[in-house]
Structures are given as structure tokens and as C-alpha cells.
């Protein structure tokens, strides 16, 4: 009984400091992650989150597809859509994906100034897209398309509004990241943190690729 109490405690070896299944938060250039899968848990969580987001947007898109011809006597999509304008905003969002991937590339090269620059440009392009969406909503509202005007209007505003909220959250993430990088508040692998925000931003872009075609381009 006394043996167990008097036995000296073994000091943990350096390798055992990181429990299996946990990332140590350090920069691993050329090294596998210290997790049970050998992969980043953060990245795995992000991909699973994006997979679940497919189900969310799938539901909203399906609802819109079902209700897009249910406008009754109210104004419908054919009288509303301004394809050249929406094409321009889509192009802006597409180009923001390019600037985002350039930010990730700069982060991997440890070019912090380049990373902050491209992240800021991405946030600005996202802001421009969002401004375009707000303008579009304002025009539609003035033309008589309120949120409760018809099943079409409700499903349209819900779908594009949800996407807009995702863009807004992405902009907040981008600007927060720029601020944290400037103040040196990112703990651990900076490139991976930038990459995680990048994955979210690209997902917002791919969702718009689907919305642009299914909602705006395919005739009702």
C-alpha cells in the first residue's frame, strides 16, 4: 500500500507531451500532424462542416425550385432578373476566390504582408458582392416583391439571404484574420488558419455558382 504512495512519478517524455488525437498547434512544415489520423483535426472538422452545409443549402435550393413558379398574380422572376448586373456580381465573387487562394499561397510562403493584402482584397470583393445583393433586393422590393408577397418571393429571399449572411460572416472572418495577423495573435500554424478561412470562403463561392445557374439562368 505504501509502495504505491512512495513510488516516484515518471517524468513524461517529450513525445508523450502531445496526447494522441490532439494537434499541438505548432507549425509543421514537412511533418505530419500529431493526431490519430495523421491529419489536421481542424481541417477535418471544417470539411465535415462544409459537407453539412451542402445539406442546408440543398434544402433551401430545393424549396426555391419547388416554389419558383408560385407567384400567383404578383411579380415573377422573368420580370425581375437583371442578368448583366447579377453576372457582374457573380464575377466579383469568383475573383474573390482567386484572391483568397493567393492569400493562402502567400501564407504558405510565410509572406505575411502578401497574406494580409490578399485577405483584405478578398474582403473588399466580398463587400462589393454584398453591396450588389443589397442593391438588388432594394430594387426588387421597390418593384413590389416583398418577403411575404408570394411563395416565390419568400423562398427566393430566404435562399439568397442565407447566402448573403454566409458572405457577411466570411467578411468578418477575413477582417478578423487580417487584424489578428497584424497583431501577431494567431497561435500555431498561421498558414492552416488562413487555409480554414479560405475553405469557408471558397464554399460560399461554390454555393453561389449553383444559385446563379439554378435561380437566375435556368428559365422558370
Amino acid at each position: 500500500m505504501s509502495d504505491t504512495t512512495t513510488e516516484p512519478r515518471a517524468t513524461p517524455e517529450p513525445e508523450a507531451a502531445i496526447p494522441p488525437g490532439y494537434d499541438d498547434g505548432q507549425d509543421h512544415i514537412g511533418l505530419a500532424h500529431h493526431t490519430t489520423t495523421g491529419l489536421s483535426n481542424t481541417k477535418l472538422a471544417m470539411w465535415l462542416f462544409l459537407g453539412s452545409e451542402c445539406l442546408l443549402f440543398g434544402g433551401l435550393i430545393s424549396t426555391y425550385m419547388l416554389y419558383r413558379n408560385r407567384q400567383g398574380d404578383a411579380i415573377g422572376p422573368d420580370q425581375l432578373w437583371d442578368i448583366p448586373f447579377t453576372s457582374a456580381t457573380s464575377f466579383i465573387l469568383l475573383m474573390s476566390s482567386l484572391t483568397m487562394v493567393l492569400a493562402v499561397s502567400a501564407a504558405k510562403r510565410k509572406d505575411e504582408r502578401g497574406t494580409r493584402l490578399w485577405l483584405t482584397v478578398t474582403a473588399l470583393l466580398g463587400g462589393l458582392f454584398l453591396a450588389g445583393q443589397v442593391y438588388e433586393f432594394t430594387v426588387f422590393y421597390r418593384e413590389g416583391l416583398g418577403y411575404t408577397t408570394s411563395l416565390f418571393s419568400s423562398s427566393f429571399y430566404t435562399l439568397t439571404g442565407f447566402h448573403g449572411v454566409h458572405v457577411a460572416v466570411g467578411i468578418i472572418m477575413l477582417l478578423s484574420l487580417v487584424g489578428m495577423l497584424a497583431k501577431g495573435r494567431i497561435v500555431g500554424d498561421k498558414a492552416e488558419t488562413v487555409e480554414m478561412v479560405g475553405l469557408y470562403w471558397h464554399f460560399v463561392d461554390v454555393v453561389w455558382i449553383v444559385i446563379f445557374t439554378l435561380v437566375y439562368l435556368i428559365p422558370a
Binding site: 514537412g30 511533418l31 505530419a32 500532424h33 489520423t37 495523421g38 491529419l39 481541417k43 477535418l44 470539411w47 465535415l48 462544409l50 459537407g51 453539412s52 452545409e53 451542402c54 445539406l55 443549402f57 440543398g58 434544402g59 435550393i61 430545393s62 425550385m65 419547388l66 442578368i83 448583366p84 453576372s87 457573380s90 464575377f91 469568383l94 475573383m95 476566390s97 482567386l98 483568397m100 487562394v101 493567393l102 499561397s105 504558405k108 479560405g198 475553405l199 471558397h202 464554399f203 463561392d205 461554390v206 455558382i209 449553383v210 446563379f212 445557374t213 439554378l214 439562368l217 435556368i218 428559365p219
Partner: protein
């Protein structure tokens, strides 16, 4: 006891080596900034083609929807594969995302079929 330890050590070594090889393989597929610009231009051209297809009145109407869906799918997978690096990323990440995507496509296709969406 020592045999167990040896076996465990060998398993850990093998697992580390596999992880290292997979990691090295992932890093050997880095895309240059120039190629990212080329991919973005390709996406812009596809978007222009989509818009042109809807605006050109001589475009066969029976082909319009399949053509638009095809271009949309190409754009989607180009962004996911190259900008999000999923093409050269670990199988577990691919599984995590594509299981959600495939689940959404199957689930909502069934929902739309239930509501006779595909019936003219």
C-alpha cells in the same frame, strides 16, 4: 510484455511512415500562383459562356438546361478540386465533404420527385 511493446512500436512507426508519405504526397501537388490565375480565367470564361447561352436566342432550347447544368458542375468541381485543394487532399477530407454533397443531392432529388418536380 516486451513483445507487445515491440509490436506497438512497429505499428506506430508504420502509421507515422504512412502519414509522412501521405503528407509528402499532398505537398508535392502545390499549384503555382500563375496556374491559379489561369484557373480563375477559365471559371470567368465558363461564366460568360453560361450567360451567353441564355442570351443567344438561336441556342437550342432543349440543350440549354443540360448545358447550363454541365457548366455549373464543371465550375463547382474546379473550385472544390483546385482552389480548395480537395483533388490532392487526404481521402478522409474528400469523404467528409462528398458524403454531405452526395447526401444532399440524393435526399433533395427524392424530395423533388415526391413533389413531381421533374414531371412536365
Amino acid at each position: 510484455m516486451s513483445i507487445d511493446n515491440d509490436t506497438h512500436a512497429t505499428d506506430t512507426d508504420t502509421s507515422d511512415a504512412v502519414s509522412q508519405l501521405e503528407h509528402d504526397d499532398l505537398h508535392s501537388h502545390e499549384i503555382s500562383d500563375k496556374n491559379y490565375v489561369i484557373i480563375a480565367l477559365l471559371l470567368a470564361v465558363l461564366t460568360a459562356m453560361e450567360v451567353a447561352a441564355t442570351e443567344i436566342s438561336s441556342f437550342p432550347s432543349s440543350l440549354l438546361v443540360p448545358a447550363l447544368l454541365l457548366m455549373m458542375a464543371v465550375k463547382f468541381f474546379v473550385v472544390v478540386s483546385y482552389f480548395m485543394h480537395l483533388k490532392h487532399d487526404a481521402a478522409l477530407f474528400k469523404f467528409g465533404f462528398y458524403i454531405g454533397l452526395a447526401g444532399a443531392v440524393v435526399l433533395y432529388s427524392v424530395v423533388l420527385m415526391t413533389f413531381h418536380f421533374f414531371v412536365n
